[in-house]
Symmetry: C2
Subunit: 237 residues, 2 copies
DNA sequence: AATCGATTGAAACGATTGTTTGAACGCCTT
DNA sequence: AAGGCGTTCAAACAATCGTTTCAATCGATT
């Protein structure tokens, strides 16, 4: 009696205008933005309903209680995000180095994006930083396949000379370098001069840096600092 | 009339037992733990006072209101943390590679530590992830000098062949690799097998990996994967 | 012993929270 | 037109929040 499935939510009419008028998705969208901005505890159902333009009782009517609304909003944001930025597919024969570069670039674009990153990313970031019930599903559906793709690229790049464990460790190093700019972006902005942020710490230049950093560490490309001493020795020898 | 400085807080008697009996520091300690665990909004003054063993009115008496208590508790945690883990000092002539290794190892030990990391780190991490008023002070007093030390080590390591901007970018890459294990530790634990976590993703092995990764990227040490092709070319030449 | 200021205590304040209620509304079928 | 059903609404619910009040208590000075 508390939460019943409304009839008009049957998805036979998927018109965009119609979806915007559906109170259920309006609440989901507003809830996601509020939860992303303030977190679960701080966000209030009253603010959510006000943003969605519905009565406070609508939350209990459609979702039962606040907790289930949160879980549904995380799922909704996740699915919407998957639809927005699909995984890039490479033609067979694409060099692994190019795949790695594009992969890192895509990850950074998703995290930092142009201007304010969309609230879906903020919501997912909250789950990563402080997991709740919705976390495991998020990892299995979104993060794990993404990470597996990175490991596969690294495996191809090193021609199978590193174990899966080592590949995962290298992958985590790459993810970490992107992650810190998203999670600790404010502090980064305080440690690095403003003009330097805009010139070197935006997605494109960062992707080049992290890619080159990884390729050099793996011995696939030249290191950031040319090893003059060793070159000299080789020349002499 | 709302919050006046208590007389007995005069620090002429710094006995440890005496400090534990000082309601002011008891509240600061309890508040730090509560704020670290639940965040500013979720943590309640009632729980803090219950943990500190004082009356709810004590918060207003000693600190005025909850907001000022929070700022004071962040400062207190920060100062206590500085006292606990002082910066290591190296003898003149210590190789830069060894400095870098020890620096990364110390940073990881602080972040991950043995077992549960102390609540002070959690509190500081909250400020990094979502800065409040107490953030700027934290960055200036704690994070910026620490980061400057890393940049100095990298500068020495590369013998001045990289610009300060490039050094900062490399430094951020190193910090990011440590940071991700602290901030997204739960997700890392879901992506990597349990035994692999214990064998490869603990402070000591991680410090070796990240150090070697950095040294290889900078061209100071051999890459993770030996570049057979180029070696062969060199030998042929 | 008496007095004064610092500290503590229990209780209550007003505000806000998530949730529930029951009547009113809109739309469709009969 | 009438009724039924899904939906919306304003209002109120109990619980909890930060904060305040004021009397009781403690300790040192007079």
């Amino acid at each position: 009696m508390s939460s019943r499935t409304p009839i008009h939510s049957d998805p036979h009419l998927a018109d965009s205008r119609e979806e915007d008028r559906d109170p259920r998705v309006r609440i989901l969208s507003a809830a996601g933005q509020e939860f992303a901005e303030h977190g679960y505890e701080v966000a209030t159902v009253r603010d959510i309903c006000a943003a969605a333009g519905v009565n406070v009782a609508a939350v209990n009517y459609y979702f039962g209680d606040k907790r289930r609304l949160y879980i549904e909003s995380v799922k909704h944001a996740h699915e919407e995000r998957l639809r927005q930025v699909p995984q890039p597919e490479w033609a067979v024969g694409t060099p692994a180095t190019e795949k790695l570069h594009q992969f890192i670039d895509t990850m950074l674009e998703r995290m930092l994006g142009a201007g304010q990153p969309p609230w879906q990313v903020r919501l997912m970031m909250r789950e990563v930083l402080q997991p709740t019930e919705a976390c495991r599903e998020l990892v299995e559906d979104y993060i794990r396949p993404h990470f597996a793709m990175l490991v596969a690229i690294l495996d191809e790049l090193t021609a199978g000379m590193l174990s899966q464990a080592e590949l995962r460790r290298v992958g985590m190093s790459i993810v970490g370098q992107c992650f810190v700019y998203r999670a600790a972006g404010d502090v980064v902005g305080m440690l690095v001069p403003r003009d330097e942020i805009e010139s070197l710490h935006t997605p494109k230049p960062l992707a080049e840096h992290i890619t080159r950093y990884a390729l050099a560490a793996l011995g696939v490309a030249a290191p950031l600092v040319l090893p003059l001493v060793r070159v000299t020795k080789d020349v002499i020898a």
